[in-house]
């Protein structure tokens, strides 16, 4: 059918122009210079450090937000309490608000003249322009993902299985471990994958609070920007390559988990 081909062509064409071609280019450009410069760029201590920082931030943010997501999900779906609507909206906030704005809020709160900043600085703890603020920023931008996957799944699940478990003698804790958690596991896993992707790729909020000091408070995404600005294109491409590869792994994970999540 000619019409079908036309539509298909438009869709695919759009995808190629916007998504695929650029991606292919990165791989091409990166390897254009040969393997050795890439390796040199990647083993540069600044690069290594930046990746370390990114990983640390993610390693803290992901479990934290997973726990938060599951608990919040349970509270929102199963319980009534004042401010529930607010909590729900709060969870969605990082999705609607620019990461730059989030970064700005953190900056204002923890800066020298900020509400909390003065207290922390007085105790010799540096938040802004140091690791803690990077972690904070990463945590805040990745809050929604697990919760948003868990909530609809919990809703659909209903409470019957748990009631059955209760009549069969299971305590509250047993019900949570044996029934609730296993029933939402794919939603949680999918949420974790999304959260991880977000943590690893975050730029805006972290840029606002970290100060971007090479070798000290740099994260991998910031590093790419830094390198480009300093015309260290090889370094930038090399770092991007690693990030892109991670992204592909994430994408594969997403594709594999998604169908399980929606059954």
């Amino acid at each position: 059918m000619p019409r079908k081909l036309g539509l298909r062509g438009i869709a695919l064409g759009y995808l190629v122009v916007v998504l695929l071609a650029p991606l292919v280019m990165v791989f091409y450009r990166t390897f254009q210079a040969g393997l050795h410069p890439i390796w040199a760029a990647l083993s540069d201590p600044n690069t290594v450090h930046a990746f370390k920082v990114t990983l640390i931030a993610a390693a803290i943010a992901v479990p934290l937000n997973t726990l938060f997501g599951v608990l919040c999900g349970l509270a929102i779906v199963r319980r009534r309490f004042p401010g529930k609507g607010l909590l729900n909206a709060f969870i969605d906030l990082p999705l609607a608000v620019s990461p730059v704005v989030i970064g700005l809020c953190l900056y204002l709160l923890y800066g020298r003249d900020g509400w909390f900043g003065s207290w922390f600085l007085g105790h010799g703890i540096q938040i802004l322009f140091a690791l803690p603020s990077i972690v904070l920023a990463t945590v805040f931008v990745s809050v929604p993902f697990v919760a948003r996957e868990v909530i609809p799944t919990l809703r659909e699940l209903g409470t019957e299985q748990e009631q059955a478990a209760a009549t069969l003698g299971a305590t509250g804790w047993q019900r949570f471990w044996r029934i609730t958690l296993p029933s939402i596991r794919w939603a949680v896993i999918y949420g974790v994958v999304l959260t991880t992707a977000r943590c690893l790729g975050e730029y805006g909020a972290v840029a606002m609070v970290s100060g971007g000091v090479l070798g000290k408070t740099q994260t991998a995404p910031l590093l790419v920007d830094n390198y480009m600005n300093n015309f260290n294109t090889t370094g930038a491409y090399a770092a991007s390559l690693v990030l892109a590869l991670i992204a592909v792994v994430v994408l594969v994970a997403m594709t594999l988990v998604k169908p399980r999540e929606s059954t």
């Binding site: 019957e160 299985q161 009631q163 059955a164 478990a165 209760a166 009549t167 069969l168 003698g169 299971a170 305590t171 047993q174 044996r178 029934i179 296993p182 029933s183 596991r185």
Partner: protein
């Protein structure tokens, strides 16, 4: 274990689900709680199980007050209308659940599960997931699961409601035989009066949250305590001073003291019987059911006027 509920009331917002119901269920009996939708029967059952808390009243299990006891401590088995199968576990794990959470030794669990699989005839399905079972199979699994820890009470909430007619009939039969074998106090909720009358040895009729009557099937059918029970358990028509059931109407060609004049509208053959649709002087319709032989003896034809009497009525209810 005997069950007693005293003055149980429960409302959901403005809706009164259960209104001051008191009921005794003797140990080892098979009782049906019967009523139309919204009559509070499921709520009552769930209160007995501990899945709902009553607004007032007490629940006593074996004479001891269990009103505040959590469901997991009541030693009751509950079967849900839509099975509530643990979707992420195999049939075997589902059935074993009650024993698993009680931390019974593995060999004991295995033996018991095998025993139950045989009882419900699901031997080949142990390692399947519930989603691969039919409705009837899932319900049998749910029954096995509820029985695993040998509860002293078995509660079933419209257990066969979601199944098709043939499977329903099979499982009904099966439940009765199971009870005869295992003798656990069983209470099941249904809106199907045929099911209640056929399976249970005692029936409690609920209407709009209130208990109308409780007794054996025959007692309820012949000596209903209220018009509701009368009409709910079978067809009943007003004839003269009282009510009659279709098979209790006698038709004659000559009037008598308590006879009512009726016109025959239609004669329908139903197997060995004949259903006769009648209408009386005031336009009220009723149905009589006679043996075809009797109808032929009387030589009844549509359009005729005859006289109906509640001669054989055992119904002692006045309207």
């Amino acid at each position: 274990m005997s069950i007693e509920v005293r003055n149980i009331s429960k409302r959901f917002g403005d809706f009164v689900a259960v209104d001051d119901v008191s009921l005794e269920i003797p140990d080892g009996s098979l009782t049906a709680v019967l009523g139309p939708s919204g009559s509070g029967k499921s709520t009552l059952l769930r209160i007995i199980a501990g899945l709902e808390r009553p607004d007032s009243g007490e629940v006593l299990l074996s004479g001891k007050d269990a009103t505040d006891l959590a469901p997991q401590r009541r030693d009751v088995g509950f079967v849900f209308q839509h099975y509530a199968a643990f979707k992420h576990m195999t049939v075997r794990d589902n059935i074993a659940f009650a024993l698993t959470v009680r931390k019974r030794p593995k060999h004991e669990i295995r033996a018991r599960v095998d025993e139950l699989l045989e009882l419900v005839q699901l031997q080949g399905y142990a390692d399947r997931y519930p989603s691969k079972l039919s409705g009837g199979q899932r319900q049998r699994m749910a029954l096995a699961r509820a029985l695993a820890a040998k509860p002293r009470v078995l509660l079933l909430d419209e257990p066969f409601g979601a199944l098709d007619a043939r499977v329903r009939a099979e499982l009904r039969d099966w439940l009765r035989r199971l009870h005869a074998e295992v003798h656990v106090t069983t209470v099941f909720v249904t809106h199907d009066q045929e099911e209640a009358m056929e399976v249970a040895d005692r029936v409690a009729v609920l209407n709009q949250g209130r208990l109308e009557q409780v007794g054996g099937p025959a007692e309820l059918y012949d000596r209903p305590a209220s018009e509701f029970v009368l009409r709910f358990l079978g067809d009943a028509f007003k004839l003269g001073d009282g009510f009659v059931r279709p098979h209790e109407i006698t038709l004659r060609r000559l009037p008598s003291d308590d006879a009512v004049e009726v016109r025959i509208e239609r004669l329908v053959v139903v197997g060995a019987d004949m259903r006769i649709e009648l209408v009386d002087g005031s336009g009220e319709r009723m149905t009589a059911r006679l043996r075809r032989d009797d109808v032929e003896d009387l030589e009844l034809t549509p359009g005729e006027i005859v006289w109906a009497t509640p001669e054989q009525s055992r119904c002692v209810l006045a309207p």
